[in-house]
Subunit: 225 residues, 2 copies
Amino acid sequence: MEKRAISNRTLKRLPLYLGYLKGMPEGEVNVSATSIAERLGLNEVQVRKDLALASSGGRPKVGYVRRALIEDLEKFLRYDALDRAVLVGTGYLGHALLCYQGFARRGLEIVAGFDADPAHHGREICGKPVLKMDQLADTCERMQVRIGIITVPDYAAQQVCDQLVEAGVLAIWNFAPIRLNAPERVLVQNEGIESSLAVLSTRLAERLEAEVVAKTDRAAEEGNA
Amino acid sequence: MEKRAISNRTLKRLPLYLGYLKGMPEGEVNVSATSIAERLGLNEVQVRKDLALASSGGRPKVGYVRRALIEDLEKFLRYDALDRAVLVGTGYLGHALLCYQGFARRGLEIVAGFDADPAHHGREICGKPVLKMDQLADTCERMQVRIGIITVPDYAAQQVCDQLVEAGVLAIWNFAPIRLNAPERVLVQNEGIESSLAVLSTRLAERLEAEVVAKTDRAAEEGNA
DNA sequence: TAGATTGTTAATCGATTAACAATC
DNA sequence: TAGATTGTTAATCGATTAACAATC
């Protein structure tokens, strides 16, 4: 009965493994956790533990059957079961997501885009219709939409969130750089590009500083020599 | 001399705090870690520890001076020091990033876009020129570009990565769903939207299953009653 | 068989949370 | 002063890594 939930950390690594496995030459029948770990720069025990959770396992000495492992991971990640989503905000980012072919292969179908701007209505973006906001609730119900994707500017995000909740979505994928208020029962995942940028720019600055320090040290040494 | 690096976790939370602080009514002079934690759904000690690392501190009983805290965080995150970047791949996602106004306010300036497709060359996207790939190295050197942003399809990403490294960038922000090979000295940060989707769809599916179980339990109970 | 590799149990590490002393 | 709040030290928790037994 142990409902041991798989960790977010592991969940995020699974698509990485999948990508590596799919990128391997077709001829390779078997693959070891050791080789996966080495290629992806991870610890091999970690890879084995992750795979133990999401696959039917490998065999000592030979490793995992590549083809079977791919199927196991895709099954575990539910790439076969299609989840329907709507997207609100058909700006550039909305465009990018509506047109991204990878979602379909990963179990996500965006059925329509929505926008407050009447100029966008009636258009099609990569085959997906752009509808009026007042068609949101109806569309969600009719198409059994469970996920709402928010790609509007930050000042509009909370209102859109409310409308999506009202329309009955069960999860919200938020690309606006703002914390949303939503009822407990609705799952909210924030993409937070600014958080990402904070990490990148800080780590880069640290490296540059370390370099300057190293240079200064060398110069000082030369001075002493 | 203790070079205790700030954790990625903390780094990712700082922009969140900043967003909350900036969104507060101007009238609020002071703000407590307690209130920040409550609003963002975090532990208050965690917030205090984060703020201790990135700010000059608060005062018992009153908390932090909102305005000063904002300045401290912006300074810590280097929002004032401008980092220059180039972006390769001017598709929809490239468009979105080139046109995102938020980067400039967060210390990142994308100076130009690049694309392999000649049809894109010479255009301007939100005021940024789209150049030919063979202008990449020259532009990076001339403008002292330190960051390369990759927004090309997965099959082209590794080659673009090589070109960026060759052009001398020190960090790569990768939005393609693939693991890049780059020399140690170059910082690579993967955005990995598929990892994000894996978390979202799995957590959603778990909830739905829990609901089904709960329903079944209720039905069983009614049967027993 | 010997050695590579899996999967698990134990140890370590780092981050979160709790307890508490300091202070305005 | 009393109470709210900070900042720090200690305890807990969860994830990673190391050690090792099982096995093909």
